[in-house]
């Protein structure tokens, strides 16, 4: 169990100490949201109708951006090979890394979502539903991202390929995520979002660990 | 086949499209097979004197 906490603490210290990784992700998230009005026009009614979709796409793209950092430098400096001898099984360590990834990539987005709420003319109740859907949905995104990152860890340009691989699989999260925001679908979508997110979080450590073990071969 | 009514165009387009693509796929697989066999044959011809000496079954 100590190993689990140690991995999370290490990844957090590395991120905080290592320059503005979190800042860049946040900036990207806000910018993706902010450029939409320039593309579709500043009409408030239209923007507020599109707002849930825009926030989710921005969150999805930002999480993809942070993927490459997940396993790559551990693979390069030999830590991944040493993890195989750790007290905790590899799947446990991968789960710890997914949690750290969520804390570092998804949580800041949720904290920054009010900025987008204002920019995209979102009213308060919609924004609350956006936050709720992000809190429930982003763990699934982080888990899916971890699987994509684990599969492409040994590829030099893997960072380019992981987003292509996991985007088709992230559709359910996108569909239920945005679906749970507009009042009409409401609760059923939220429950389905939670279900998909939980399945992905449950499966990811084992599949990612298998991918990492095979890539080490 | 009566004259080309509104529906027939799509039916013909569908069947032709499928025929064309499957034909292309078959051709590409067969062509790569032939290309690789040729390269292997050439390589084996090059190394035949040594290989036979080493007694390795071909």
């Amino acid at each position: 169990m100590k190993g689990f906490a140690a991995v999370i603490r290490r990844d957090l210290t590395l991120a905080f100490r290592g320059g503005g990784d979190i800042m860049t992700l946040l900036l990207f998230f806000v910018m993706v949201g902010a450029i939409v009005p320039f593309a579709v026009g500043p009409d408030k009614a239209l923007l507020s109708r599109l707002a849930p979709g825009i926030v989710w796409i921005a969150a999805f793209l930002s999480l993809l951006l942070g993927l490459d950092r997940l396993f790559r430098n551990d693979h390069e400096d030999g830590s991944l090979a040493l993890f195989r001898q750790a007290e905790l099984p590899l799947a446990g360590l991968v789960a710890a890394k997914v949690i750290a990834h969520w804390l570092l990539a998804a949580l800041p987005l949720i904290v920054a979502s009010p900025v987008l709420a204002v920019l995209l003319a979102m009213d308060a109740p919609t924004w609350l539903r956006v936050v709720l859907s992000l809190v429930i949905g982003t763990p699934g995104l982080a888990a899916l991202g971890a699987m994509g990152a684990a599969v492409t860890v040994s590829l030099p340009r893997g960072g380019l390929l992981a987003p292509v691989l996991i985007t088709p699989l992230a559709l359910p999260l996108l569909i239920f995520g945005t679906g749970s925001i507009d009042a009409m679908a409401g609760n059923s979508a939220l429950l389905l979002l939670a279900a998909v997110s939980l399945v992905l979080v449950a499966v990811a450590p084992f599949m990612a660990a298998l991918a990492l073990a095979v890539s080490e071969d | 086949m009566t004259g080309l009514g509104p529906h027939w165009v799509f039916i013909v387009a569908a069947y032709l499209g499928v025929a064309l693509v499957t034909g292309l796929t078959i051709w590409s697989v067969v062509a790569s097979a032939r290309r690789i066999e040729a390269r292997i044959a050439r390589l084996e011809a090059e190394t035949r004197p040594h290989v036979v000496a080493a007694g390795r079954p071909n």
Partner: protein
Amino acid sequence: MSSVAEKPNWFSRLANPGQFLIWSRLVNRPLAVVTGLVFVAGLYYALLHSPADYQMGETVRIMYIHVPNAWLSQFVYGVMVVSALGSLVWRHPMADVSMKAAAPLGAVFTGLALYTGSLWGRPTWGTFWEWDGRMTSTLVLFFIYLGLIALWRAFDDQLRAGRIVAVFTLIGAINIPIVKFSVDWWHTLHQPASVFTPEGPHMPMSILMPLLIMTLAFTLLFTSLQLLSMQVEVRRRRLATMEKRRAYAAGTPN
């Protein structure tokens, strides 16, 4: 010749690719003939011998080539999942060869399913593309196939690539049902009235017969192409070994 030639290289350890080549080459010709015959019968029934559908008229004939491709797009993924398990669980050397051969074929059949689907939808929906549940799932499956092919090509060492692609094939297999469910849910949310497509067994025999024959024909086509592609992959790896050994022999004139 350097001492390497005498030592058993990895290729002889994979004895069964040799056996696979022998029996599958025997099968190539007869399988091609059978596929051709079934296609002839299928086309005869589909185009000439079957009646127009009471509701969709002549366009039902497009269904005879749409449904087989849609079925193959999922059947081929099934073949890849079985091969992935073969590669990861039993480390069977032929497993990743069959997985690699199946991916492009899967993409072709899925692409054809999309092509024929949009042509079939044109007269009924009035547009070439309609975000209906089944078509959208097929589109997502098409992206997954292209992603897998991209993953295959991203590796230089194809031996190591096999097992990593196998892991992602399994990840895809877990997610595809979820994607299908979410797309159908999403479709009913935005467009309740979905087009009635005669899918179930309640189709009259005169329409079911050509459909079954054409599906068999396309499945045979896939099988013969799969075997041929696997032979090509085995020979491609044999070629790579020979070229590497030539470089090795040239490099160290011991």
